[in-house]
């Protein structure tokens, strides 16, 4: 509990910053919805999308189908927020263990009567709660901004249900990146590369995971990207797929188990 509290305290500023930026982006994007109901705006967007290479459109899920519907629009714009959220998740995971070693403070902490598993548990709990707070704020901002632009013919509960699926799916994808980053962080000695590694981890899996959609072959590669399990456009149409949830949970469990195992045998070169 002591380590958890300290980690929450140390990560508070970063949490505020990421939550603030992601919340504002969610709000501004959602507030753009009324302008999408304008046929000129929609025509302009379609013209721009047609000018892009088809592979690019597919890779970044840029199809503008049905975005005159608020849930579809929310899913469309939220995929960009979700990219930032997944990178943030990966960064939280990547820095959780490596930061302490990079700054040398592990020498203070590990000289105390704590087991290595306690260190991992305390830090994992802290980043998990921090990420939950982050997603809770984004979700609240998303719902409130949706309320502000909700057309009269859309039932409030229907809107919330659609948003909930998109947000919940996104959160599971984000947690998957967080746990993957957590496992990788055991191998890092310096946290200074965490940001670039988080971006690399996200885009590498994202691009490799997009290969089947772009090329129509190597279908199995779609499983490489945890984001593909909960693509907002698919989730808003079909709901959250139980198998994909199970696979995500398995990846998270395996990453956590790997972290505990590796950290217990790690040499601290302080």
């Amino acid at each position: 509990m002591r380590i958890f509290k300290m980690e929450m305290r140390r990560g508070f500023r970063s949490l505020l910053l990421w939550t603030g930026i992601s919340g504002v982006i969610t709000l501004l994007f959602t507030l753009l919805y009324p302008s999408m109901l304008n046929s000129d705006m929609l025509a302009l967007l379609n013209a721009k999308l047609e000018a892009l290479p088809q592979e690019f459109v597919v890779a970044f899920h840029l199809s503008s189908d049905d975005i005159t519907q608020l849930p579809n629009f929310f899913a469309y714009m939220f995929q960009f927020v979700l990219m930032a959220a997944c990178i943030h998740g990966a960064m939280l995971g990547l820095t959780a263990l490596s930061k302490e070693e990079s700054e040398g403070t592990i020498e203070f902490l590990y000289a105390k009567p704590v087991a290595r598993t306690q260190i991992v548990s305390g830090k994992l709990a802290a980043v998990a709660v921090s990420y939950l707070c982050y997603f809770a704020v984004i979700s609240i901002v998303g719902v409130i901004s949706g309320m502000l632009v909700r057309p009269e013919d859309l039932d409030f509960m229907d809107m919330v249900t659609s948003f909930k699926s998109v947000l919940l799916g996104g959160m599971i994808a984000g947690y998957t990146y967080l746990l993957l980053g957590f496992a990788v962080s055991v191998l890092l000695r310096k946290a200074k590369h965490a940001a670039s590694m988080a971006v690399m981890l996200f885009f590498l899996t994202y691009i490799v995971g997009s290969i089947p959609a772009i090329t129509g072959v190597l279908d199995f590669l779609k499983w490489v990207s945890p984001l593909n399990y909960f693509t907002p456009g698919d989730v808003v149409m079909d709901g959250i797929n139980g198998t994909n949830v199970l696979i995500s949970v398995l990846i998270m469990g395996a990453s956590a188990a790997l972290t505990y195992t590796m950290y217990r045998r790690r040499n601290f070169y302080v």
Partner: protein, 291 residues
């Protein structure tokens, strides 16, 4: 007397690089044990292996009768460690850091910590990041002493401290020893080791090359003699006299005998312009290990 630290063939290597090699050492309960050696000799590797920051490559070690790998948490519940370079949470105040540190030890008392804060003249409201090297070291020492440890492992504890604080630290360490605490002291300051420690181990290139009892060294009453003069003889070595250095017009030698009359006779026959006779210090004896 119970062994507080015991290593048996303890070895730690970093791939092809040597850390410590086949080290055997016993530190007894209630003693202040010095651990000296040149930079890169393996002092920190030894400490970090004892504290399980590093896993041994081979051999074993017990601390307070507990295995240093499998029972590390129990060891640390009774052990305080002060590192050479202090890397603490820079955004915390000294007060918050001490409170965080004390929280790990059920026997730590706020009042006792406060006494130590006053003794070492620490400003608890200052952030760690704002402290000088010496003040960071003081914060580390207070954090270490406040948990009332059975064993203290100190790596260059006086590094960065002014002479007054150094004196206060020595007093505190001697009090700890009186209270039954064992102290393992790694240091470059050989005079400091000589004045505090009962025994000293010398590590060089990862191996413990010698272990000396300070009491025995003092009992020998060896002297270091420096003679300055134009025509000093340089061939007077015998069993009691070892020449340490020789330059033009200056010669230094150690004198291992209690027969001061013989020494005066030797000096009077040297046609010396000046001479200095002083107690042989640990630094004079062990400087050779640093070369």
């Amino acid at each position: 007397m119970a062994a507080v630290i015991q290593t048996q063939g303890l070895t730690k290597s970093y791939g092809k690089h040597r850390g410590i090699v086949d080290t055997n050492m016993t530190v007894n309960e209630g003693e202040i044990y010095g651990f000296i050696g040149p930079n890169g000799a393996g002092k920190s590797t030894m400490i970090k292996t004892l504290l399980n920051f590093l896993f041994p490559t081979s051999g074993s070690a017990t601390v307070l009768g507990l295995d240093c790998v499998n029972e590390s948490r129990r060891i640390k519940a009774q052990t305080a460690y002060v590192p050479s370079d202090i890397h603490y949470y820079e955004e915390l105040t000294v007060g918050d850091l001490l409170s965080y540190s004390d929280g790990f030890y059920p026997e730590a008392e706020k009042e006792y910590t406060q006494q130590l804060v006053q003794r070492f003249e620490l400003d608890t409201k200052k952030k760690i990041g704002q402290l000088s090297t010496g003040n960071k070291k003081k914060a580390a020492l207070v954090a270490a002493l406040s948990c009332r440890p059975k064993l203290m492992i100190l790596d260059e504890p006086t590094n960065g401290l002014d002479p007054l604080m150094r004196q206060k630290l020595f007093e505190a360490l001697l009090e700890q020893r009186e209270a039954g605490c064992t102290i393992f002291l790694s240091s470059h300051n050989l005079d400091e080791v000589q004045s505090l420690c009962s025994r000293v181990a010398i590590i060089r290139e990862g191996r413990i090359v010698d272990i000396k009892e300070i009491g025995v060294l003092s009992a020998e009453r060896a002297k270091k003699v420096t003679v300055i003069g134009e025509s000093i003889p340089d061939s007077f070595e015998n069993e009691a006299i070892k020449i340490v250095s020789k330059t033009k017009g200056r010669i230094a030698f150690t004198y291992h005998s209690t027969d001061m009359g013989a020494l005066l006779q030797l000096l009077s026959g040297m046609n010396a312009q000046d001479f200095l006779v002083e107690d042989l210090k640990l630094s004079d004896i062990f400087l050779a290990y640093y070369k």
